[in-house]
Symmetry: none
Subunit: 235 residues, 4 copies
DNA sequence: TATGAATGAGGTTTCATTCAT
DNA sequence: AATGAATGAAACCTCATTCAT
């Protein structure tokens, strides 16, 4: 869709969002209205999908007029962007608060995985929306969203590195592969709920998956620790 | 969107596809034209996305007139359905031909994983399309597509079971979780190409991932065999 | 065209018209715009015929945009329905106001006939439109339109009965046949204007026709009265 | 639709029909195929209405291919014209054969009325079609159809004149008005079948109508004769 | 600032007509 | 002569966006 490989310095998602133009001056009001509209947009996009969703759908959901939306946002794509940023932001912010105070590397790793997975399982539709509709954004915005994803991934990679450094995980493992393994493991519960949910609980899924992933990466020392944590002799 | 929970016997994807009505009688011609149109539709949907893609885009891609498409298909959604069925059919058929003649369980498992991943990496856009746009189908068709997915998954689950039966994989592993682990592992290379491709080759990705997954599920006996297969002392 | 014999309670034309959904809330505006659009639709349907007439034709005639029409009406058939209802409503309302204050039965009968005929002759194209295009409506709406016709016929049958009761018309005459005789007599002037207008005036047509019809139904007493009314010794 | 008042010599319906161009040479075949296609067109136009009816509908009805129709006819309007001509021709030809051998003026008049009415009641849909769709023709063809109607009317006017000449009908009656009275009386049974048929038989309708019309036009001498004919002392 | 009526470009779909076989 | 697949113009309708109030 975009032919021109622009060399503009890349803007972050936050910068792009801040530069979305609003006809309204009062920043307080802009923030409040945007929040309200974005929330409605997420709900409406989830219900209908981005393209089939109309501005009227969103206005109705937000209990405002169509015109009001265009006071705070330039076009429909802006709404999608704000929606996706909001979804990813929630994911990204959810993890640190879940692992706060958990310092031991393996435990921290497990907590991150559980948190990440739990967060996604809490709003599977939003996860699905992000999957489906990121491609509907312009390149710059798509890239900014990807960058958010990368930053979130970092929250997973850090504990992996800590585990490696602590000798709990094998030294030679590919941290990117493992990270995406975890990411996709979490998304899978959301994306494939129709197949998985009838067959197991989130807890079973999480623990079985965790054991499976850990089994592939732990050192003997790590395995020992994991046994202590879970009460099992062996992962 | 659909309110009525119909109790009609579910039709398979193939049945639905066969019942898409064509104004043209000659079955030979119908098959040939549908193939041509479906191929064009896949390309056009990949380029634009389903909703933004116009029938004229597809007609142009297929080098036929707009009217011709409607001689072979009832509406735009039929085109999406045919496109997705074709994509999944290719995936499903690709695996058996790849593992033909490989009988040893572990080797068969590894071959399946490699085949599955390679197939998806060969047409990452199609994988992405299937991910994004299945939701744009009516419920019956969405379900039929999911069923195709389940059938393909079976091609992965079978070797898993064989490995368990052969004592190569741990008895207690959750085969569904492992299966989806593999599925998502393969899709990830397609979906997250933008992040992964700059950092590793498909081969690295595959072998690192395979080692990671196997490490979590293999018995001591399995590990020994794996060492023999790969020339490594230890996975 | 309609297969299902529904047992829903039949809605009147007015009810159906009121239930045509509009995206605009303000009832005042809806009424005004609908009136404007219906008027334009009548003109456009008369000019082109219902099927060949395009929404753009109507929009142009009404001096509004195409989109505006769809704010006040669901589809093209709604426009036809509103047009026909408006036409028949005008006919139906025209009669009572014409005969107001005329109480003597025979005179009232003659006045009704003259009024009915004059009204139709005033907008022969509209009469023709109603004739041609009622069949283009869905069954329910067609039935509602027929019901309007029946109600209008009643305005003719009532004076007939009064004349019979007053001994002016023969007791044994078939009031339905006479009624339709009058109805068709009136429509004929509109429908067959191309043949009749060059050969006589509406007045001639009316008086000759009236004399003809009265001659067939009047008693001796009636004939006497008619002579007094017209100044002729004999009808 | 047509702005230009052309001064071309008017062609009769038969001439126009004969000049409709056919790609096929053999006149025998042309006649046979046209007959087949016209018959199918009448049925299809009755079922769907002219505009909604597709060429495919007609081809199917005629059990021929779409292409074949265009070998014998220039366009869709030709089909409508041929259909209407055929319908009116049947009406026109039906009357003389019905009155053949009836020479007494009053009896001949009554026979014509009964024949005309019976013919129309036999194919009410065709009557309705002629009413609705004549307007869909080009002006020249519309005029030619009207001319056919005029010629048919002459078959009614002739007996009226004979009755006047014989002193059976009043000398001063308007023969055009009476003629159309009869025409519309006959059409009414077809057009308003939905209202009339549940309430009376064609026989009742005919005799009540005939008595009504005759009552308006007969001289004393005529009334006497009518009494002899019907066995009633008085119309 | 907020509203929602108005606009019109553009998408899907139909179908009269053509033309290669 | 007959077929029916192919064409593409044009219709209906939707909906993102604007603008007067």
């Amino acid at each position: 869709m975009e032919r021109i490989a622009s060399n503009k310095p890349k803007r972050t998602a936050t910068e792009i969002a801040e530069q979305i133009k609003s006809l309204v001056e009062d920043p307080k009001l802009v923030e409040q209205r945007r929040k309200q509209i974005t929330k409605a947009a997420i709900a409406a996009f989830i219900r209908h999908g981005y393209h089939p969703c109309t501005i009227r759908n969103i206005a109705k959901q937000a209990q405002v007029s169509v015109g009001l939306i265009y006071q705070y946002v330039g076009d429909k794509e802006d709404l999608l962007f704000l929606a996706l940023v909001e979804i990813l932001r929630a994911y990204k912010e959810g993890i640190p608060s879940a692992v706060a105070g958990v310092d031991e590397p393996l435990q921290r790793f497990c907590t991150v995985v559980r948190a990440y997975c739990t967060i996604h399982s809490g709003s599977p539709d939003a996860t699905t929306l992000a999957y489906r509709e990121t491609a509907s954004l312009s390149k710059e915005r798509r890239d900014a969203i990807k960058q958010l994803e990368v930053e979130t991934n970092q929250l997973i990679i850090d504990p992996i590195r800590a585990c490696i450094a602590a000798g709990i995980f094998e030294r030679h493992i590919n941290e990117d592969v493992l990270c995406y393994q975890i990411v996709m493991f979490s998304h899978t519960w959301a994306l494939k709920a129709w197949n998985l949910q009838p067959r197991m609980t989130l807890e079973t899924y999480l623990e079985d998956g965790l054991r499976l992933m850990l089994g592939g990466v732990m050192t003997a020392k790590g395995a020992e620790q994991y046994g202590v944590l879970t009460g099992n002799a062996k992962p």
